[in-house]
Assembly symmetry: C2
């Protein structure tokens, strides 16, 4: 007997979610038991329906896919998580795996392939897109120290150093130093470029 897999689908784009639900419904052994458009909603739906596999978009309003996965791991250990994403940032993959995610693929895969992957993770196996994995490996670990990353995050919206210093409870000179060392580690000309790079690599 082929067991049927109960799936939760979470993506903020209704068009895509609906289309996906329709396509997955064509597979005999898959059934979409719940849909959600936001992070918190996904969590609530998961609690209510206890799906076998949760297919989560990485970027959703409220809480991103990784955050949802973390909560899910604690509350429903039996629920496997598969993350799909449009723009694969290396660091996200690492964070996702740390959160216990079982699968991680870009949205460029076909629906057919996605269905296979749902079965794969349901069977207890893992799968990450080879290209994303290669990116993550070549990007490597974050070279930033805890404080450097913290200061970079505060600098993300272009705030002046004085403001960052206040929020981080540091002297201005110190903040400038962290910014500077972070920028040089990232090979950036200035802190703004550094912020962009760190974001791209998923290190902030």
């Amino acid at each position: 007997m082929t067991t049927t897999v109960r799936v939760l689908l979470a993506d903020d784009e209704h068009l895509i979610r609906g289309a996906l639900a329709a396509l997955l419904a064509l597979e005999d052994d898959l059934v979409v038991v719940a849909e959600a458009a936001t992070g918190p909603e996904a969590l609530a739906m998961a609690r209510a329906h206890a799906p076998d596999v949760a297919v989560l978009d990485l970027q959703m309003p409220g809480a991103d896919g990784v955050k949802v996965a973390t909560s899910l791991r604690a509350e429903l250990p039996g629920c496997k998580v598969l993350i799909v994403t449009s723009h694969g940032r290396p660091g996200h993959l690492k964070r996702a795996l740390a959160a216990g995610v079982r699968g991680f693929v870009p949205k460029t895969v076909s629906a057919q392939r996605l269905a296979e992957l749902i079965r794969t993770v349901h069977a207890g196996n893992r799968y990450v897109d080879p290209e994303l994995a290669a990116d993550a490996i070549s990007a490597g670990d974050s070279p930033l120290t805890v404080r450097e990353a913290e200061v970079l995050e505060h600098a993300a919206d272009g705030a002046p150093v004085a403001e960052i210093a206040e929020r981080a409870a540091l002297a201005e000179g110190t903040v400038r130093n962290y910014l500077s060392s972070a920028a040089s580690k990232l090979g950036a000309e200035n802190r703004h470029a550094a912020v962009r790079l760190a974001r791209e690599r998923g290190w902030v």
Copy 2:
């Protein structure tokens, strides 16, 4: 007799494009005659198949939806363009309409609704998502002068003023001035925040 509508589908995310194609195929009067994953590919497909309606993603590799629409308008005036987008930036809507686009909607619409809209634009009518329209109106026109926008663009990747000055063939002081006035017009603290805001509003 209900005429059948020949549709071109362009989106870089295979998962979504495939799912969409499948759903639209369920509608009796719609037929997807071509698919594309990039801007140039969409253009080539349009030339080859001369579709009635082109459904374009706003953000694609190569050339964005608006650029494709512009070319299409010149080469295939009979082909109506409907743009779908994940992240609606006000300025894009304006540019799109200027490029002769007939419909503009976020990806949060349902597939059912999208099918209706394809018929709507095919019938010669226009449709823009009310919420996006409201955003565009409230965001209003760009308050930036030509030079201000130009300098902001050059500043986008965090380049130092000297470099911007060279690329724009201006004195450094002048560049600082434009940056400064642009920032104040946008209500930004500094040029980096200004760049972000201008991007969000679609003014650069």
